[in-house]
Amino acid sequence: MATFCHLIVIAGILGLAHAAFSAAQHRSYIRLTEQEFTRLPADIVLECLLSLIVTCYGVITMAGKFKGIRAMAEFQTKSMDTVGNRPSFYSFAHRGFKKQPEEAKTKNDS
């Protein structure tokens, strides 16, 4: 279960979490020492970006082989018999009715 790409994704996510915690801790430190907050230290930003790249790479590797986008793939196997059906417009006044004359009698009786 714990294959290499799973480990990469977990490492990436841990890195992101660590960067988030570091950033929060940095801000509270700045607030405590009453310094002005201009921007985050470079190492936290770098850690965040690197973890993002590592996580993306891991997820893509985990997803497996990509299939090409084929807009017409779903239509290849269908014939006009099914595609040409317009169910909202079905009319029942056709020859198939003549097969069951006893049904018409039932209607007249009831």
Binding site: A71, M72, F75, Q76, K78, S79, M80, D81, T82, V83, G84, N85, R86, P87, S88, F89, Y90, S91, F92, A93, G96, F97, K98, K99, Q100, E103, T106, K107
Partner: protein, 287 residues
């Protein structure tokens, strides 16, 4: 037949037919009746779409008693729903009582004026009475409000074809192609309309659309035949230039080679018949 198949197979089959909008009503009614009679509890909430599917299928076969049972069950469960009222309207249509069907639908529309499905049933009423011009008028009214409904455009095209108004039918299919440019069947059908209209210009355009259909789906045999016939007619027409004749003979023989190959792959016993047909059309391989 139904009793020998097991529950999951029948249910999955019916589900697939419901999703793909297949219209084999006799089998649907038979299998659906079997499921509903014996496995009502196992189906759970899927009973209701199944009831709807079976009622429409039984209306199609003329099994009105089965249809009445199903529709009654649905109406008892969902008395206020416009969907169940619509089913009741369809039952009245199938019985031939178009007036009360129209009243039913207009009542639903009074409560819900934007109900597209019910507006489409009004069109179907005109179809049932075989009054195609009114059906076309009603459908044009519907399309004015619901412009992107592919089903409605295709229905309008088929109604125009019935009235032999091919230019308007071609327009409808152009709209369909605009909405779905990757659908090979729309290109093929559009080409068929142009081919029916006839004339060298239309045949050329038809050949191009058939070619596009083949490009989108190489298994579309009908489009290959269409391409073959268009090219053949252009090549043998007296009005085409020599250059057009040679081009089209090449296209025709290309289509012939493709058809030969496809038939060899799947129906080798038909090769002889195919060969005879080509001989009669007198198509030789490219020069």
């Amino acid at each position: 037949m139904a009793a020998t198949m097991d529950f999951e197979d029948v249910r999955d089959k019916l589900r697939k037919w419901r999703e793909d909008k297949v219209r084999n009503s006799t089998e649907t009614a038979e299998l659906g009746e079997y499921l509903l009679a014996n496995y009502r509890r196992k189906l759970g909430d899927e009973v209701w779409p199944l009831f709807e599917q079976v009622s429409i299928a039984s209306l199609d076969c003329g099994k009105l008693s089965l249809a009445r049972l199903c529709i009654h069950a649905v109406r008892e469960q969902f008395p206020q729903s416009s969907r169940s009222k619509r089913l009741h309207g369809m039952l009245e249509e199938a019985e031939g009582d178009f007036e009360s069907a129209k009243e039913t639908y207009e009542e639903i529309l009074k409560g819900d004026p934007a109900n597209g499905l019910v507006m489409k049933r009004l069109v179907a009423i005109h179809k049932g009475k075989n009054d195609i011009p009114s059906a076309i008028k009603e459908l044009n009214k519907y399309i004015a409000s619901f412009m992107s409904d592919s089903e409605a455009w295709m229905e309008l095209a088929e109604l125009y074809i019935q009235e032999q108004d091919y230019s308007k039918a071609a327009f409808c299919f152009e709209e369909l192609i605009l909405y779905n440019p990757h659908h090979h069947l729309y290109h093929q059908r559009y080409a068929e309309i142009l081919y029916t209209q006839g004339g060298i210009d239309n045949l050329e355009i038809a050949r191009k659309y058939f070619a596009q259909a083949v490009k989108l789906n190489s298994n579309n045999i009908r489009a290959l035949y269409g391409m073959l016939l268009c090219a053949y007619h252009i090549a043998s027409s007296s009005k085409s230039t020599a250059k057009k004749k040679t081009e089209n003979t090449k296209y025709a023989s290309w289509a012939k080679v493709q058809l030969d190959y496809k038939y060899k792959q799947s129906e080798p016993k038909d090769e002889e018949v195919l060969g005879e047909m080509f001989d009669r059309l007198a198509i030789t391989s490219g020069n």
